[in-house]
Point group: C2
């Protein structure tokens, strides 16, 4: 892989890490972000690099990706509404930001003759599957969140565009990611609660939800590794570690890292919110078969995240 | 089931058959169609019934379904771009007509408090699955057509709305349907060719594609049967017969019904077109477990279709 690549959501957690990686490897990178959740500071190194070009724009406007896709070899489509929890409070947002925007990106690729896409999907699209650890070819799931539904929709159109227009596709189903530039999710929720009142912590659900996490640099390395290895038209990979933890485990690690012993209260129930999946654990045999291995455990990734949050908050 | 029901795509093949069935059973029916492919003649009986109300409108306009959903108990969402074959010639049509429109219908249901949806999905969403006959919980498929992708997207949002907003959903994955009011597909293609030049017939693919079909009245009966029986929130059913045939078989039946012996030529290849699925055969154990049985074989359904096409073409 060399040449010019497009990263959507380039100022986000995953997108900005990919931008830095591609620039480090000597590629030309064009990035798009609307800065609705992306942060300019994540692009501070990239913006100093003459190989990087930034487009401020909204991918709901088809012209934005159409212009950016000119002369591009690979699109890393990372732009998304990544908020799973509040889906039902704005019911059409996931459809627009994740499904509609992906179609716009695919259309731009088709018109501009871009040959390859990497897509940030999610383990949430397996819903409450009974097969755990969950392989890529799990039984057709029932979607339990608008976020999962929107990623399933996007994946489906990516596959159809691969079949219909010869685009090579890489669909990566992430567990929750942790590490530097992590900006939303339960670790930051807990961190902020403890900054405000170090003596108490309120947890959604019963704390026994079992979740998987992957360190951001391990995630990006897995993507690059898989893309370098495959000549298949459609490639689907779960990305995660081969372990999971309870929410209570991560609370213990966070508290230890912060040197705190808060009183913990629980909202109760097996789900933290409607559509919360009480057990996410992906079978990662397929990506491991390419030779990739994660470098950090979940605990180490949580600790790195806490360190990052402390440093970036000036605490 | 009694009361007021909304049928989208009410002037189509399936929609108009549902309208007639609901009216026959004494329900009030409100129908929406934009008549892009629907035919006014299919509503001739309904339009004479004071219990039927017709809205001419485009479901891409959210106001159309929003107004129609007021006071409705069940939405039969049958409106769709049902053309599988020419998907790549108008790449965004399936997304708009099938995914976007379904979201609009779901939003109307959420806002108006409509409690139940029946949705016309498709066996095409199984792509080129290796599990044949294919059960409802087959391994996650790779989408091979924009049509299949759009139905997968619509199903996913229906499930998420069921989980998020308590709507009961019935997703029916049809094989190809045949019978009275059949307007597009290979039987009508062959029929028209033979009307034009009875001595020859050109077939896309090698004629050995294996396909399943279901008679339209058996299909609608299966839907009503499943909906009367279930209290589950999300219900997914394959609808088909427990047999399949080769395209060559249906050609033989059509020619016999018409008393013709044309010379047959083939375009060749295992697919008739990009995204054509060379073998569709659904496992229908789940719908059969409700007690439903089809009344016509595939051959009988083909023969009824030819009879209908002859009568409606005045041949």
């Amino acid at each position: 892989m060399s040449g010019r690549h497009l990263v959507t959501g380039c100022a986000g957690f995953v997108g900005s890490t990919i931008v830095d990686r591609l620039l480090r490897d000597g590629h030309d990178v064009i990035g798009i972000d609307d800065f609705s959740t992306g942060r300019e500071e994540f692009l501070s190194a990239a913006l100093d690099n003459r190989r990087f070009e930034l487009i401020r724009g909204d991918l709901l406007d088809p012209a934005v990706s159409d212009e950016a896709a000119e002369g591009v070899e690979t699109v890393f489509h990372m732009a998304a509404n990544a908020d799973v929890r509040f889906g039902t409070e704005h019911p059409t947002r996931d459809f627009e930001q994740n499904a509609r925007v992906t179609l716009n990106v695919l259309e731009a690729m088709r018109r501009r003759g871009v040959g390859r896409i990497a897509f940030a999907s999610t383990g949430s699209m397996y819903g409450e599957t009974k097969i755990i650890p969950t392989p890529e070819d799990a039984p057709l799931p029932i979607q339990t969140s608008l976020y999962g539904a929107s990623k399933m929709a996007a994946e489906s159109f990516i596959e159809a565009y691969s079949e219909g227009f010869g685009i090579q596709s890489f669909v990566f189903r992430f567990v929750s990611l942790l590490g530097e530039r992590y900006t939303h999710g339960h670790v930051v929720d807990f961190f902020r609660q403890l900054q405000e009142h170090p003596e108490r912590l309120h947890v959604l659900g019963d704390g026994k939800q079992r979740k998987s996490y992957l360190y951001i640099f391990d995630c990006v390395e897995a993507m690059m590794h898989a893309m370098a290895a495959s000549a298949e038209r459609v490639n689907i990979y779960n990305l995660g570690t081969d372990e999971y933890c309870e929410v209570n485990d991560s609370i213990a690690w966070i508290c230890e890292a912060l040197g705190l012993r808060p009183a913990i209260t629980y909202s109760g129930g097996r789900q933290g919110w409607i559509g919360d999946n009480p057990f996410i654990f992906l079978d990662t045999a397929r990506i491991r078969a390419t030779g990739w291995r994660p470098t950090l455990s979940i605990r180490q990734a949580v600790e790195r995240t806490v360190r990052y949050l402390r440093e970036s908050s000036g605490a």
